[in-house]
């Protein structure tokens, strides 16, 4: 596979994934751009991987999880709170409010926990693959997902009661 073919077929999916990770289209663009620049410069190595797609997803996830150490976080933080995303139109106003709530709670989770939620509930990946992308054990994935869910449930309870 060439870089061009890869970008043609996977760039949109990666952007969607980055939006789910960051909760913000601008940050998603920055994240994908920085990752894909490295991907293109090192395409030989990426193409050698069993699954270039998974390899890139792993690069992108690591960059997201480690973003405090990276240089792009400084730029990103200037943009303010990721919760200021434009509202999304919907027919079911009440559902939308709840989803927006859950969406905003996501931003309070540690990044690794958020990444595991996105990988399981958005990308529908099996735990083993999530573990591979995050570079940790399957058990760690499961415990971080259940901890994230517990946090969200607690927020939920607080709002509903």
């Amino acid at each position: 596979m060439t870089y061009e073919e890869f970008a043609d077929s996977r760039l949109t999916a990666l952007l969607r994934y980055a939006v789910m990770l960051t909760g913000d289209p601008h940050q998603a663009q920055d994240l994908v751009q920085d990752t894909m620049v490295r991907v293109q410069l090192n395409w030989r190595r990426v193409a050698r991987a069993d699954s270039p797609e998974r390899y890139v997803r792993r690069m992108l996830t690591n960059q997201y999880v480690d973003w405090r150490r990276g240089s792009w976080v400084r730029r990103v933080l200037l943009r303010g709170d990721p919760d200021e995303s434009p509202p999304v139109a919907t027919d079911h106003a009440q559902d939308a409010v709840e989803r927006d709530q859950i969406w905003s709670w996501l931003s309070r989770l540690p990044r690794r926990q958020r990444a595991s939620l996105v990988l399981r509930y958005y990308e529908d990946l099996p735990d083993a693959e999530i573990a591979e992308i995050l570079g940790c054990a399957v058990g760690t994935v499961r415990s971080s997902i259940s901890r994230a869910l517990a946090t969200l449930r607690a927020e939920h309870m607080e709002v509903c009661s």
């Binding site: 060439t2 870089y3 061009e4 970008a7 760039l11 949109t12 952007l15 969607r16 939006v19 789910m20 909760g23 913000d24 289209p25 998603a28 663009q29 994908v32 751009q33 894909m36 620049v37 293109q40 410069l41 395409w43 030989r44 193409a47 995303s85 434009p86 999304v88 919907t90 559902d95 939308a96 709840e98 989803r99 927006d100 859950i102 969406w103 996501l106 939620l117 996105v118 509930y121 958005y122 869910l149 969200l152 449930r153 939920h156």
Partner: protein
């Protein structure tokens, strides 16, 4: 609704936030191009190509331009065209001569000029071939240069010498002269000839720039021809296809030089040799001796050949000389009977036009 379901719904609902990929794609490409430019300054080129030696053979009318100056630089050596078959080893280097990092010879081209001076033969020796390297066990052919060039700033003469011995041992032929070329040399040479015409059997997309070389005939400037010569990935036969590309470019340069009458114009030739000369490391003979080698070449249209190779049984990427076909090929090369061998193996010949 459970939290899990709400999560899935929230993700799905925010999908429309995804920005369009087109502008981002362009931004990525711009950024990569900028990084590459910076990188290229540090690491000049990769595989370079092997043209000058061959170009030398194509100079039929050079006798008036045989400066005494050049002869004086080589005391004790008679600058006369050799008789009999001549083999010139041309190495294309994967970088510049000044940078301190290991160097590999990624193009290994043996130019064979038969005793009857009928036409030159370009024999590509695949760089991924596993061969005995004197003093270093076995290794890929391109690593012989690295062993010879040593640590730090590469010793080009040392790298050439070990590669020459490796090739000599492998083929059993005497190597009479050789040259080590880098990409900048090829670029200058191509530009000095106002570009090169190549006819590609299939389209090639550059991994290094945004260039796409369509199938069919096209004229390339120096930068584009170097770009083309670097392409290996994405081609069906990888490095072997790159070797074929190299033969196409060499043939195109020679053809261009002949068509334009460069070789019969001492002034123009002198300019080219001055422009390119200082960057070429030549062993065994001077540039001008190479140029004088075969004033009586009957045709400058070279025959491109690839050494018959086959994958190692257990390691797919490592090649070895084909146990059935290679010995006969080497024997024909040693006995100066390549014309005969070529007639019997038309499938081994690269289409150069």
């Amino acid at each position: 609704m459970t939290v899990e379901e709400e999560l899935s719904a929230a993700f799905a609902q925010h999908e429309p936030l995804t920005p369009p990929a087109g502008p981002l794609r362009a931004a990525i490409d711009r950024k990569v191009a900028g990084r590459r430019r910076r990188r290229r300054k540090l690491r000049v080129g990769a595989v370079a190509l092997a043209v000058l030696g061959l170009l030398g053979f194509a100079v039929p009318q050079l006798t008036p331009y045989r400066p005494a100056r050049e002869a004086a630089l080589l005391p004790g050596r008679v600058a006369a065209a050799p008789t009999g078959a001549v083999n010139v080893l041309v190495l294309g280097l994967d970088g510049s001569a000044t940078e301190e990092r290991p160097r590999f010879a990624d193009s290994v081209l043996l130019v064979h000029v038969p005793a009857d001076r009928s036409r030159p033969y370009l024999v590509s020796l695949p760089r991924d071939m596993e061969v005995p390297i004197p003093g270093h066990g076995t290794g890929k052919l391109n690593s012989a240069f690295r062993y010879g060039a040593g640590q730090g700033r590469p010793d080009l003469a040392g790298g050439y010498e070990l590669t020459r011995r490796t090739v000599s041992d492998l083929t059993g032929v005497r190597v009479d002269a050789g040259a080590v070329l880098t990409y900048p040399v090829l670029r200058k040479l191509t530009d000095a000839l106002d570009g090169v015409e190549v006819c590609l059997p299939r389209a090639v997309s550059s991994r290094h720039t945004s260039r796409v070389f369509p199938a069919g005939c096209q004229r390339l400037d120096g930068a584009a021809s170097v770009d083309l010569l670097r392409q290996r990935q994405g081609l069906p036969d990888g490095a072997l296809d790159r070797d074929r590309t190299a033969q196409l470019v060499v043939a195109g340069l020679v053809r261009g030089a002949v068509d334009q009458g460069v070789l019969t114009s001492p002034a123009r030739l002198s300019r080219i040799l001055t422009a390119v000369g200082p960057d070429v490391t030549v062993a065994g003979a001077s540039l001008l001796e190479l140029v004088q080698l075969a004033p009586e070449l009957k045709s400058v249209e070279p025959v491109g050949l690839g050494l018959p190779v086959s994958p190692q049984p257990d390691q797919g990427w490592r090649l070895r000389p084909d146990p059935e076909d290679a010995p006969a090929f080497f024997a024909a090369l040693r006995a100066d009977r390549l014309a005969e061998w070529t007639a019997g193996h038309p499938d081994r010949v690269t289409r150069l036009r």
